[in-house]
């Protein structure tokens, strides 16, 4: 296993690009297969944009940490921010089929669908949100 790699980002949506680049830079070392990589790229975007959009006041520039932790059968990704307490798992559409998709609310549904486990807790002044995705690591060098 390759341990943990971390990046610190500002709560600006432009930093989603840095996060995608970061995942890309880890993909080979972490032996992430293509299908899981595509899913993780989307999950990272959805979680990050959610935090960047809602955790802080508009002009309050703060840091968001993202840790990628290589595990035996996949990856754990932890997002930590010091914004307003918010459990993203508390918010979901009961019925996605009849939802008005032009109104949003799809992000958390995508996150739940593309990861195997999600966990939120408030640690002191921080929101800590972790997702786990299982996959078989590829053997490409």
């Amino acid at each position: 296993m390759q341990g943990t790699r971390s990046i610190r980002l500002q709560n600006k949506k432009e930093d989603a690009i840095k996060l995608a680049d970061f995942l890309h830079s880890c993909a080979t070392t972490y032996k992430i297969p293509d299908s899981a990589y595509n899913d993780l790229r989307l999950v990272l975007e959805e979680v990050f944009i959610n935090i960047a959009s809602y955790a802080y006041d508009k002009d309050d520039i703060q840091m968001i940490s993202v840790d990628l932790n290589d595990i035996d059968d996949g990856i754990n990704i932890t997002f930590t921010d010091t914004g307003v307490a918010f459990d993203p798992l508390s918010y979901t559409y009961d019925d996605m089929e009849s939802a008005d998709h032009s109104e949003g609310g799809m992000g958390i549904h995508i996150i739940r669908s593309l990861t195997d486990h999600q966990h939120y807790h408030r640690a002191g002044q921080s929101n800590v949100f972790t997702v786990t995705k299982h996959y078989t690591k590829h053997n490409k060098e």
């Binding site: 989603a16 995608a20 959805e46 998709h101 949003g104 549904h109 593309l114």
Partner: protein
């Protein structure tokens, strides 16, 4: 990770919006701008051509569904074509494919449009 948008006219005052690259929270406003500029009440059909799009997030989906709402309100058609597997998967996750006109390629869409035109002629 940029988005390329090309707008081309289609038959009977339709518009094709071809998107390539990444439709995400940073690029979605560009597509919204194009739709605002191009999709007027007189447009009878809007085709979103996904050929070349390799990433789609919920911010991009919102723009697509707003455009659909606009076309539904105008009584126009809204068609999606050339969805790559990873793009189609996102639509499937949010259970949004029912009630949408989605075509795997140009040929399938042409068949649909020809059948629709035949129906219109029969009604004349």
């Amino acid at each position: 990770m940029s988005l390329d948008i090309v707008i081309t006219p289609e038959a009977n005052n339709g518009k094709r919006i071809s998107i390539a690259g990444s439709l995400d929270s940073n690029t979605a406003p560009q597509l919204q701008q194009s739709i605002d500029n191009e999709i007027s009440d007189s447009v009878t059909a809007t085709i979103i051509d996904f050929n070349g799009l390799d990433f789609l997030s919920s911010a991009g989906l919102r723009v697509i569904f707003k455009a659909k709402k606009l076309m539904d309100g105008n009584g126009g058609k809204f068609l999606l074509v050339n969805l790559q597997p990873q793009i189609k998967k996102v639509f499937e996750i949010i259970k949004a494919l029912d009630g949408m006109n989605v075509f795997k390629d140009q040929e399938e869409m042409d068949e649909y449009l020809a059948a629709m035109q035949d129906k219109v002629k029969e009604g004349e």
